[in-house]
């Protein structure tokens, strides 16, 4: 069993990852921000964000698995609306919690 980072540390790591990948100020990275629609992330940016989170929090994020967690059989619009900073925080927290348990 490993130590789970505090919720604030997870949020900070994710906000920093998004900010550094997209070259935007951290104050724009609010929980309700949609990565694609609001923050204009391209797929290469999403990969960049994922890698930064993986390195920062020492976890492995499988893109397919993350997309399934967003919801199956979504249209592009539904997917973009669901893919928020808050979703990433919740998803990563859940992954870390599972890792700490395992």
């Amino acid at each position: 069993m490993t130590n789970l980072p505090a919720r604030e540390q997870i949020i900070e790591a994710i906000r920093r990852a998004v900010s550094e990948a997209l070259l935007i100020p951290q104050d724009q990275v609010i929980p309700s921000a949609r990565l694609v629609s609001d923050l204009k992330a391209e797929s290469i940016d999403v990969a960049d964000i994922r890698f930064r989170i993986e390195d920062g929090l020492k976890i492995r994020i499988d893109q397919r698995e993350m997309m399934v967690a967003l919801g199956e059989n979504l249209t592009a619009e539904e997917l973009n609306n669901s893919f928020t900073v808050q979703f990433v925080i919740d998803y990563v927290t859940e992954k870390l919690t599972q890792g700490a348990r395992g």
Partner: protein, 142 residues
């Protein structure tokens, strides 16, 4: 399905990628390229280009263009599927083969989506210059 002896176009996808963005991705995340963005075979060819050109840095060169080409074609191929519902996928589900004469191999959930959209193969074209890499992919069925 063939109309008038021609292949039937089932979907079209384009992607344009900023070479400097690819360079930054490579520079910041070189350890993540293999088996995440590039398949083992793609990565082997990428490494061979780096070794050939004796360039480990992410400066504009054949290796950067190779990486940009793979990423742009993968994204364009995904769009060319024209799936009404977005299938969950990993970048390695799409493999780009060849250099001047590109071909695309699809596996995983995307492979299933291809069957559903009646898109058995892709035709790809790509153009890179100093700033951008543009990929154009069409899904065809014969």
């Amino acid at each position: 399905m063939t109309v008038g002896g021609c292949d039937m176009v089932t979907g079209v996808g384009t992607d344009i990628i900023d070479i400097s963005r690819v360079r930054r991705l490579w520079s910041d995340h070189c350890d993540h390229l293999e088996n995440d963005l590039l398949t083992a075979s793609e990565y082997k060819r990428f490494r061979a280009i780096i070794d050939d050109t004796n360039c480990e840095s992410a400066e504009p060169n054949r290796a950067t263009w190779f990486l940009a080409t793979r990423l742009a074609v993968k994204e364009a191929a995904f769009k060319a599927l024209g799936a009404p519902r977005i299938p969950a996928f990993n970048w390695c589900d799409i493999e780009v083969l060849g250099d001047s004469d590109l071909s695309i191999r699809v596996s995983g959930e995307l492979g299933n989506a291809m069957k559903e959209t009646n898109c058995p193969s892709f035709v790809a074209s790509v153009k890179c210059d100093g700033r951008f890499c543009l990929a154009f992919v069409i899904g065809v069925t014969t």
